[in-house]
């Protein structure tokens, strides 16, 4: 019995998004189960099934964070960045 992580694309061109997983005794049944559970009502244009064992995980926070504080490099407080952010936030507010 194996666990497969399932990724779904809802429209052509959209990114593949992780939606959950299925457990199955083999690839054939995993395909069936993914179809039944994640595209039962035709939600998907494409599914990816990845055996969980094939996933290389990095969960080490120490490794993932730079050891030296370098936020000055990120330009988060640059005037242009701040203005652009504000502009985007306003456009977003108009749309919704």
């Amino acid at each position: 019995m194996q666990i497969y992580e399932v990724f779904r694309q809802e429209r052509e061109g959209d990114p593949m998004v992780h939606v959950g997983n299925v457990q199955a005794p083999g690839d054939d049944l995993a395909r069936q189960y993914a179809r039944e559970v994640y595209s039962r009502r035709g939600e998907a244009t494409r599914l990816w099934l990845v055996p969980r064992a094939a996933i290389e995980e990095i969960g080490d926070a120490y490794f993932l964070r730079p050891p030296i504080e370098r936020s000055y490099r990120m330009g988060e407080a640059y005037r242009v960045t701040v203005q652009k952010r504000r502009q985007l936030a306003q456009e977003g507010a108009h749309e919704s």
């Binding site: 457990q23 083999g26 049944l29 069936q32 189960y33 039944e36 039962r40």
Partner: protein
């Protein structure tokens, strides 16, 4: 269409519709107790598909027999149902308040029946694509698209059980032997099939599908290393056991009495109710 042809076609459609309804109903009893939760969803979905197919066939029959699909599905007397008897037996444990149901039920039997029936149904629907009755040929085209998934599901489980060591394989072999006479009973003709063939409404009789089915089943048995319950003799087949017939004539076993009561219980309470 002449009256006798119309009634023969209606009668034949009921045979198919009843097969699909009864298998769908029995398989739906696995909902909640299939071996794993994903399979629970998948097997229930398959069962629901079969009931959907039954509905299509009942609607076609209802047009010919001047009645409605619900009346055909749930309003007939028990001996006016024409499914093969192999489809009416229970494969799930029947709940018993004392707990005596535990350990009952046979998933291997459910898998074997479903898969070997689907192989038969695949041959039957393939033939029906050539029916000169356009509404039937059209409905069957849609049904076959769904049946392709059923076959893939069936073959995956067939292989999984056959290649497992121990109980799963023993149960699959046992199921094959136990189901064999009943499965051969699928090929019993419905009355009037000769007439339907001569009128071009059917390309051939149900009995004519048997050898192609035996061939396919033998292939799946050989591939999985399972003992095949019949033998090939030259151009034909030697069948050691007599087929379990009668279903197509409305003669059924005790499992049918129980299923009929369950299935029609609500409708019988208030047959005139509008849902």
């Amino acid at each position: 269409m002449r009256a006798e042809v119309t009634s023969a076609l209606g009668r034949y459609l009921l045979t198919i519709a009843d097969d699909e309804l009864i298998l769908g109903y029995r398989d739906s009893e696995w909902t909640g107790i299939a071996p794993l939760v994903e399979e629970d969803v998948a097997f229930s979905s398959l069962a629901q598909d079969e009931i959907g197919h039954a509905r299509l066939y009942y609607m076609l029959a209802a047009d010919l027999l001047a009645t409605d699909a619900d009346e055909l599905a749930l309003g007939r007397e028990p001996d006016d149902y024409y499914h093969a008897t192999v489809l009416e037996t229970r494969t799930t444990p029947k709940y018993d308040a004392s707990g005596a149901h535990r350990g009952g039920g046979d998933w291997a039997r459910a898998v074997a029946r479903r898969f070997l029936y689907d192989l038969f149904d695949d041959l039957r629907t393939e033939a029906l694509l050539r029916s000169s009755y356009a509404p039937l040929a059209g409905a069957v085209q849609k049904i076959r698209r769904e049946e392709q998934y059923h076959l893939r599901h069936g073959v995956a489980w067939w292989r999984a059980l056959a290649s497992a060591d121990g109980e799963a394989r023993v149960r699959l072999e046992g199921a094959l032997v136990a189901l064999w006479p009943g499965l051969l009973g699928l090929f019993e003709d419905a009355p009037g099939e000769d007439l339907l063939v001569s009128e071009g409404l059917l390309p051939h009789r149900t009995a004519d599908l048997r050898d192609a089915w035996l061939e396919r089943v033998q292939g799946h048995c050989d591939a999985a290393g399972l003992p095949f319950p019949s033998e090939r003799t030259g151009a034909g087949w030697s069948i050691a056991v007599p087929p379990e017939v009668g279903g197509r004539q409305g003669r059924h076993g005790p499992a049918w009495t129980e299923l009929y009561d369950d299935m029609t219980m609500v409708r019988r309470l208030e047959p005139e109710a509008v849902w």
